[in-house]
């Protein structure tokens, strides 16, 4: 059992939690993920590590309420426990030697992009961050990003915060204004990463994306998280989760992530109903 020691509501659907898991905190690095199970009958879900505190033995996760499991998790409080919490899994983000990087975060993906931006900033790299959200109410981590970025802009679909438009619009204008990046790191919805990668390919800028595939064990055993990268089958859990964005078959990845959409939708509705009725 793993104790929830801090909980912050970042916006209506996004929650941050610090979980007491000293062995995971001791090894965690930006870019890696954990798998958790809320209770005895729960499913195993992967969540990328948003931050960690080795001294306190805590690992931070930031998640959006999108299905039954995240709904259930969001309703836990400080002092409650989650049943299982295993990690750190996957490979860490490789940031050695990078001097100038554009970080693109989309929605809750910003939670994962932030520790990467922070680590780059701490190693003295010039960091330009573009964070995209649907609207003002969904914006998260603006101050945190601002503190570690040399340039920071927010894009919203409706212009209610920052500028109106897509993250790719902002990235294109930075590139065309003459900014030269060693690398672009894009973390967010698959569709966003697909278009960021398409844009940077035009300019020949190396681009790393973080794939949040459906998986069970997270150690290579099930193969559910497989995706095609450069024509080869890779497992997101052990070969990733980060891959060369120019080589990932995003269309396939989007189809695969939608495999259980209908069942997930039913499960979410059912969970919400049970909460409303006070059963859980």
């Amino acid at each position: 059992m793993y104790k929830i020691v801090r909980k912050d509501i970042l916006n209506a659907t996004v929650t941050r939690m610090d979980i007491l898991a000293p062995l995971v905190a001791k090894k965690a690095k930006a870019g890696q993920f954990i798998i958790l199970r809320v209770d005895e009958s729960g499913e195993r879900i992967p969540l990328t590590i948003a931050d960690y505190n080795r001294a306190a033995g805590t690992v931070s996760i930031i998640f959006q309420t999108v299905g039954a499991t995240t709904e259930q998790l969001a309703r836990r409080h400080v002092g409650d426990y989650v049943m299982d919490f295993v990690g750190p899994l996957g490979c860490a983000t490789r940031i050695e030697g990078l001097k100038k990087v554009a970080i693109i975060g989309g929605g809750v993906g910003c939670a994962i992009a932030y520790p990467v931006a922070k680590a780059l900033h701490e190693q003295g790299a010039e960091v330009h961050t573009i964070a995209g959200f649907r609207n003002k109410d969904l914006c998260i981590l603006e101050q945190e990003f601002a503190a570690v970025s040399d340039k920071f802009c927010v894009m919203t679909d409706d212009g209610s915060c920052g500028e109106k438009g897509l993250v790719t619009d902002a990235l294109r204008s930075l590139i065309t204004s003459g900014e030269q990046y060693d690398e672009v790191i894009a973390i967010g919805p698959l569709i966003m990463m697909k278009f960021v990668a398409a844009l940077t390919k035009e300019y020949g800028i190396k681009t790393v994306v973080s794939m949040n595939s459906i998986m069970i064990d997270g150690t290579g055993m099930c193969g559910g998280c497989r995706l095609t990268v450069g024509g080869e089958v890779k497992f997101a859990c052990v070969d990733g989760p980060e891959f060369d964005g120019h080589l990932v078959d995003f269309d396939e990845a989007m189809q695969r992530n939608a495999m259980y959409r209908e069942q997930e939708h039913h499960a979410h509705e059912k969970t919400c109903r049970l909460f409303r009725e006070g059963v859980r």
């Binding site: 062995l23 995971v24 090894k27 199970r37 009958s41 729960g42 499913e43 195993r44 039954a68 499991t69 049943m83 299982d84 919490f85 295993v86 990690g87 750190p88 899994l89 069970i216 064990d217 997270g218 150690t219 290579g220 055993m221 099930c222 193969g223 559910g224 497989r226 995706l227 095609t228 089958v233 497992f235 052990v238 396939e252 189809q255 695969r256 939608a258 495999m259 259980y260 069942q263 997930e264 499960a267």
Partner: protein, 464 residues
């Protein structure tokens, strides 16, 4: 008076038309009367050929004699001296190629039903005792770690705790048991049987640490250098599922057998209220011919498929699965498409599976494995309708431990290098089971775990 019947005392099973709709155990085990009757078929050969066929050397004629006398608990004690998981082995061992193959009664008629008798003795013991009634061995003051809680790890931990070691058993998943809980289905090996074995180990003093991936959460070097373990056994299992490399393998509806079985067994996706989803298909094609393929096919049938076919590239005689599993699968209506090989998984309009394009095969000259090599028949393409495909064609090594353990030597195909005693290239580090041999059987992994336990004991005692 010995029982001279030429055939095994039948064991009752659920009717095929009933069991294909549930996940309850298929074979129901012997009653005491049936067990005593079958035990009397044993001729008590002085040279014990059956024991020679057992990878862990169970004293088979002796335990069978105890059953014949009605001394069931004694029978269990005889088995458990050599085998720490008898209730498991009685159910999943390929007896027909091991102990029962060497049984003299098998020369004329059927061999003694050694597996069924082993299961009977173990089930009797489990029904009449509790895990906490087990005697706690006196501690010898030495600490060892066992990585992986599948059959190799459980056997190794069992032997070491009995010798007095302070044993910590590490498991990456949230539940101990390895392939016994995520892979082998409930109807063949009830999870309560596995849990009972683990409860017994815990009652003897084994500390089980789930949610700990060695190679990630902790490294083998940390176990040895920072956590005070004097020796480590690696029984981390087979690794990554293989795919064929044919078009369409990443379509939705194509599973590795590992994923399909894990969703069903470990995550209980067959239960209507399970939080873990699974695709409930109408027409399922399973590729492969081992026990895993049989398990996947029979699970698919139980999830409500209208048709389930097993596609295997050699002929029925070469199927590597246990004879009983093949028999049970056929009885349940699973169609065997032998001498066939998939060449493409055909997509529907929604990124799902529409069918499997196959070619017919024929058997040519024997290959390196001694089996006749399947070769493609020209112009023999045909398509099987399917909306789900399960790949059960073996595994490739996992690099989590080898890539994080300094100086651990690897075999050419990627498995961990270990000698006959399980010793690896690193002093104090032992390995066994599928991590060393590639996909094999529960009992071979257990044998390797036991051998390594003896070697670890010798290593630590010598060091003193």
């Amino acid at each position: 008076m010995p029982n001279l019947s030429m055939i095994k005392t039948p064991m009752s099973t659920q009717e095929p038309c009933v069991r294909r709709q549930n996940f309850d155990e298929v074979a129901m085990g012997y009653t005491p009367e049936q067990a005593m009757q079958e035990a009397q078929r044993c001729l008590r050969c002085a040279n014990k050929p059956c024991t020679g066929g057992c990878p862990v050397g169970v004293d088979i004629p002796t335990f069978i004699a105890r059953i014949a006398q009605g001394e069931f608990e004694d029978a269990y004690q005889v088995i458990s001296r050599a085998n720490s998981l008898p209730a498991v082995c009685g159910r999943v061992c390929p007896q027909e190629t091991q102990c029962e193959k060497r049984c003299v009664r098998g020369l004329k008629g059927e061999p003694v039903a050694i597996g069924r008798l082993e299961r009977f003795a173990a089930d009797w013991h489990n029904a009449h005792t509790k895990p906490d009634m087990v005697e706690k061995p006196a501690k010898n003051g030495h600490k060892v770690a066992v990585v992986g809680s599948g059959p190799a790890g459980l056997a190794c931990a069992g032997d070491l705790v009995r010798k007095g070691y302070d044993v910590t058993l590490y498991e990456g998943l949230h539940l101990a048991g390895g392939v016994l809980v995520y892979g082998i289905p409930e109807f063949r090996l009830p999870k309560s049987v596995v849990q009972r074995e683990i409860d017994t180990l815990q009652a003897m003093g084994v500390c089980v640490q789930t949610n700990t991936v060695i190679g990630k959460t902790l490294s083998v070097d940390e176990l040895l250098q920072e956590n005070g373990f004097e020796a480590v056994f690696i029984g981390s299992g087979a690794g990554l599922p293989r795919f064929m490399g044919i078009p369409g393998e990443n379509l939705n509806g194509v599973y590795s057998a590992n994923e399909f079985l894990t969703r069903i067994n470990l995550m209980k996706a067959y239960q209507p209220d399970s939080a873990t989803p699974i695709y409930r298909a109408k027409h399922v094609v399973v590729v492969g011919g081992g026990n895993v393929a049989m398990d996947a096919a029979r699970c698919a049938m139980r999830l409500g498929a209208e048709s389930v076919s097993i596609v295997y590239r050699r002929s029925e005689a070469e199927l590597p699965a246990r004879a009983e599993e093949i028999e049970h699968a056929k009885e349940e209506g699973i169609c065997l498409r032998t001498l066939a090989n998939p060449v493409e998984i055909v997509a529907d309009d929604h990124y799902g599976v529409a069918g499997v394009r196959c070619v017919e095969m024929m058997l040519g000259e024997p290959d390196a494995s001694g089996r006749r090599r399947p070769v493609e028949k020209p112009d023999s393409v045909f398509v099987l309708d399917a909306d789900c495909v399960i790949m059960a064609i073996g595994t490739a090594p996992n690099s989590l431990i080898k890539s994080t353990t300094d100086g651990l030597k690897i075999q050419s195909w990627g498995g961990i290098q270990a000698d006959q005693q399980g010793a690896t290239s690193r002093a104090g580090v032992y390995a066994g089971g599928d991590a060393v041999t590639g996909s094999a059987t529960v009992i071979l992994a257990m044998g390797a775990g036991k051998t390594a336990a003896a070697a670890m004991d010798a290593y630590i005692m010598e060091k003193q």
